[in-house]
Amino acid sequence: MLKIGSYEFTSRLLLGTGKYPNFDIQKEAVNVSGTEILTFSVRRMNIFDPSQPNFLEKLDLKKYTLLPNTAGAKTAQEAVRIAKLANASGLCNMIKVEVIGCQKTLLPDPIETLKASEELLKEGFTVLPYTSDDVLLARRLEELGCHAIMPGASPIGSGQGIINPLNLSFIIEEANVPVIIDAGIGTPSDAAIAMELGADGVLLNTAVSGASDPVKMALAMKLAIEAGRLGFEAGRIPKKRYATASSPAEGMIFS
């Protein structure tokens, strides 16, 4: 069970909704992924083309918790404004705080992320900040009262997988709130490793939406996250330098 603030989830996969080839594939991918949390962005409407389809309208909103992000914000102030707009939809109280400080790497601005999180916590939001893999920043965000911490595995959309498992494991070890590995996941094995490290969940988008077969990849990610979690709970064997036989040494027929 994944508990974020007052919310409870069975699935540990949080799925982004950007850049799918079409709505039919997206709907099927969302369905097979088993996700219960979908992220969205807040943008201006094209008022001159209201017939433009919107993925949200195709969803049974009773089945999913919406996690809008503040993508597009470069300052805490902008992030707070986006969060309040999202909240005014009446559809959600959760917010993924995403304040990008560098357009090339899309890495989060730690200071603005902290400020935005603080402000949104005061406003009563359930706050999930997207952060770098900085261990102390994660602690500071938790101390503010953030309901989950979401360190990136590698830059957004890069598919580079987990480049600093050590820092992520430190964050996971220290945290008393859920840690969700967000961004950079490329393959099911990346997601499984994140879960084996002890993460409480994985948030990914492009790894599924950009796959040659997004529906199959959505299922692969679901299974990988479940496998990784089970592996973590089961407890791995320690690594040894040399071999240890699995078969008994006694009663060998050649001796």
Partner: protein, 67 residues
């Protein structure tokens, strides 16, 4: 009446007097749309009573795909 909607100057007919009328005019009343009126977020309950004036700044935003 001239309004600034999503950063663009837009002329609307005189029968558009309230935020509610505006949403009807653009055929948006069935959509998930969030309204910001002169930098103030409006709750749905206020759509009918919020009168528009020339030059008002309106943001009409919605949820789109994102990660």
């Amino acid at each position: 009446m001239n309004l600034v909607i999503n950063g663009d100057k837009v002329e609307v007919p005189n029968r558009v007097e309230t935020v509610d009328n505006l949403l009807q005019h653009f055929d948006l009343e069935q959509k998930v749309v969030i309204v910001e009126w002169n930098e103030m977020i409006l709750e749905k309950a206020f759509y009918q009573e919020t009168m528009l004036s020339n030059g008002d700044k309106i943001e009409l935003v919605h949820f789109v795909g994102g990660g």
